[in-house]
Subunit: 125 residues, 2 copies
DNA sequence: GGTAGACATAGAAGGCTGTCAATATGTTGG
DNA sequence: CCAACATATTGACAGCCTTCTATGTCTACC
């Protein structure tokens, strides 16, 4: 059971929350959002997420991800699973290889919740 | 020693990073950003941050923060210290009370790094 | 069928984290 | 100076997290 079928991903639940600075987050909301942040709150996973999100073509092979780290294959696999379980990345198995893709809308929701600079003219310093 | 004097806060260092999806985060950048996310990756701290950031007047007394939780005073104090140490909040002691203020630019930098929706028409949700 | 390769899972070790009770520190007022 | 109060620090403990090695699973190819 890779994900829940009837409930929202953590990543999807975030979209319902107003920015942190708009109004106090409820305890329930905080419990939903924290796992997403926790998933990103590790240097390895943060780099993995960035590698996936920034890769040309939108997807990247797990084998290529592993080459960027001095870590064992199971460790990389574990971190990718954490990102997958909270809904920050999608996976697609093609033959022997597994391709990961960033969920842009999940990152966008999380960024908005944390607090994006107000939409306006270019900031001047 | 509340903070480093010559080096940047984690919160300040984040401002130097492009969004996750723009280019792969370096290992060094990831090591700098992860502590910030880790600080927010706890339900209690996330609510504390939201309470501080959303409070009218821009600041809020620690005593008022504690009343929102079913946790001991030392625990709240500990969580506030975590947020303070990474530079997400400022503190101001006035008499017996301590007032906390959100560092809006730190939240904005972090939000931008994670990935804000591209500036466009108002989202309908 | 058998072998090789890519990825996932299981189990264990060591370190980190959240929480508390107890105590320390600093401030106000008598 | 002492009492009362707000907040911070200390020390301890349970639980979780990151990492590894060993192993399992699935696909491709001969």
């Amino acid at each position: 059971m890779p994900k829940s079928l009837t409930l929202l991903d953590p990543a999807e639940a975030v979209a319902c929350c107003a920015p942190l600075s708009a109004r106090p987050l409820s305890a329930e909301q905080a419990e939903q959002v924290a796992p997403l942040l926790k998933a990103l709150a590790d240097p390895v996973r943060l780099r993995l997420m960035s590698l996936v999100a920034s890769h040309p073509g939108g997807e990247i092979c797990a084998c290529e991800l592993g080459e960027s780290f001095d870590l064992s294959q199971p460790t990389i696999s574990h971190h990718l699973k954490v990102l997958y379980d909270v809904g920050l990345v999608d996976r697609d198995k093609r033959g022997v290889w597994v391709y990961y893709r960033a969920r842009a809308e999940a990152l966008a929701s999380l960024g908005t919740l944390i607090g994006c600079p107000p939409a306006g003219p270019a900031s001047g310093g």
